[in-house]
């Protein structure tokens, strides 16, 4: 299951092809001083698919997201994101790639001096030349999508933990990204609120066709997202158990001590006889 290199797996080196992966890590290594964070990490994420990274705290999961965004640079290896070698790009070039990406940070990372509406519309207000009324419409639309339309003028400190995460999701999706990264989106939330956040992730993936990369150690949420799909009947959005091809579009990657120790579907993960995986799943 685990690949040594993308070349071994016969994957394309160039990402300009139509069906090329949206994200591609090839033998990525990273260390801070003497501490090895990632060692020969190799994987890819296909368009419209979901990649879920599992692992213990400190295993290097969040670092993978930061590498994708170009917030960190690897010591070696190559990282392709949306057709660009992000590890070779400078900050100005990275801004162009990040324009097509969204990220939901742990705890939301909302700007606490801005209102909910200003947070959600931040990218559109500051980094585009869209007319203000259009931005406002989009902000209302995405806040409606996450069920927080009436909170547009509130400050982040006035919201609950779950609402803040949903605002963070709305902020990440406002500029219609093609790739969304979620860093522990449900950690610290109660089970019911977690389900609401999970539903937003599923809705975005299936209804807006956003490729998703999710880092979590909340197994219940990970399996729920991997095994459910969203569909729209009239104006009603329903979340139901996924079947067939949809199930194959979600992959799990287990990171252990900075290495990929497993990569496969939800069923393959459940069926694994690896003692560490079994201990993790139990």
């Amino acid at each position: 299951m685990r690949r040594e290199s993308l070349a071994d797996a016969g994957l394309p080196v160039e990402l300009v092809e139509k069906h090329a992966p949206v994200v591609l890590f090839d033998k990525v290594c990273l260390a801070f001083d003497d501490k090895v964070i990632l060692r020969n990490v190799t994987f890819d994420v296909r368009a419209g698919h979901t990649k879920i990274f599992l692992g213990a705290s400190g295993a290097g999961k969040s670092t993978i997201l930061k590498l994708m965004l170009g917030l960190l640079k690897p010591d070696s290896g190559t990282i392709w994101v949306l057709g660009h070698r992000v590890e070779q790009m400078d900050e100005v070039q990275l801004m162009g790639v990040r324009h097509h990406m969204g990220m939901v940070f742990q705890e939301g990372a909302l700007f606490d001096s801005f209102s909910v509406g200003e947070n959600v519309g931040y990218k559109l207000y500051e980094e585009t030349r869209q007319p203000l009324h259009q931005v406002r419409e989009r902000v209302e639309e995405v806040l409606g999508f996450v069920g927080l339309g009436e909170h547009i003028d509130k400050m982040p400190s006035d919201l609950s933990g779950g609402q803040r995460r949903r605002v963070a999701i709305a902020r990440a999706m406002a500029a219609k990204p093609t790739l969304l990264l979620y860093d522990e989106p449900t950690t610290g939330l109660d089970p019911m609120t977690s389900l609401t956040v999970d539903a937003e992730i599923i809705k975005l993936r299936d209804l807006e066709n956003v490729t998703s990369v999710l880092v979590t150690h909340q197994l219940r949420d990970a399996f729920y997202i991997a095994t459910h799909e969203a569909s729209m009947l009239g104006k009603e959005i329903t979340i139901s158990p996924a079947a067939g091809q949809k199930l194959e579009q979600a992959d799990f990657v287990m990171i252990r001590d900075g290495e990929v120790s497993f990569e496969g579907s939800a069923d393959e993960l459940r069926a694994s006889t690896d003692p560490y995986l079994q201990a993790f799943l139990s």
């Binding site: 917030l71 801004m95 990040r98 990406m101 990372a109 700007f111 606490d112 500051e126 980094e127």
Partner: protein, 261 residues
């Protein structure tokens, strides 16, 4: 010297050099950001208000009472030489050339430097700075450039205000306590000032304003370690900015004396 002490000294030196290197890089990036696009003009206006108007009260009080106490103290000393009418000359020379710029800068270091370090430090530890980058915004252009420009612009203006109220404070004491005639005081103030002094008092605050705010931004953006780290960053910013203000004041004064006089 034992090996462990030696290695600690080397590590300390390395880390100090790294800080200086990062500070210089940030300052250069801020200068580049000030003359290129994108430029966040509304953030500059907001910072002009926060740094300028927000610091007005503390600068007014500091300037006024410094001028007043200077009149009291120098009045006593000048009495020994029968030179009480020259009190205005002493106050104007001291306030405009040295005390106005330095005390205003020290007040700004305490109020603005600490505020910026705390604000940016909180943003760093709560991932808001990473979120800015993820949203396609350069934090230096968005957070540093407007603050540094606002400090650069407002510090000289606040210094002029401090000088003005300092002379006013001196005048009140000269007239009410030292019994110096109002016209004698103001004539003495004008006699004590040369154009070179005014230039010196106006040029220094530009450098000091830049330093205070850029140090606050640098320390804030390098904050590590949660809320405790924010506290440490705030203290470091005030200490570093205050000491640097005094050091830079000395060197800029020397330079200006060699150029202007």
């Amino acid at each position: 010297m034992s090996e462990s002490v030696q290695s600690r000294l080397v590590d300390g030196l390395k880390s100090a050099l790294l800080e200086v290197q990062e500070y210089v890089r940030l300052s250069l990036a801020a200068m580049r950001g000030a003359v290129s696009r994108p430029f966040y003009a509304h953030d500059l206006v907001e910072q002009l208000e926060v740094i300028g108007l927000g610091s007005l009260t503390v600068v007014l009080l500091t300037g006024f009472f410094t001028g007043a106490v200077l009149a009291l103290q120098s009045g006593m000393t000048l009495d020994q030489f029968g030179a009480r009418p020259f009190v205005g000359r002493l106050i104007s020379a001291s306030m405009i050339k040295e005390l106005g710029p330095v005390l205003t800068a020290l007040m700004l270091a305490g109020r603005v430097g600490s505020g910026i370090a705390a604000e940016l430090g909180s943003m760093v530890v709560t991932d808001q700075v990473s979120a800015l980058r993820a949203l396609g915004t350069d934090p230096i252009r968005k957070l540093v450039v407007p603050r540094v420009l606002a400090g650069f612009i407002m510090c000289p203006i606040l210094t002029v205000v401090a000088n003005g109220v300092g002379l006013l404070g001196g005048w009140i004491i000269a007239v009410t306590q030292l019994r110096v005639a109002s016209s004698v005081y103001w004539q003495s103030v004008i006699d004590g000032l040369y154009l070179e002094d005014v230039w010196m008092g106006l040029i220094k605050p530009f450098a000091l304003g830049f330093i205070i705010v850029s140090i606050g931004c640098h320390v804030g953006l390098r904050t590590k370690g949660g809320t405790q780290g924010v506290g440490r960053a705030t203290t470091s910013a005030v200490v570093a900015a205050s000491v640097t203000v005094l050091v830079v004041d000395f060197f800029v004064t020397r330079l200006l004396i060699s150029i202007l006089f």
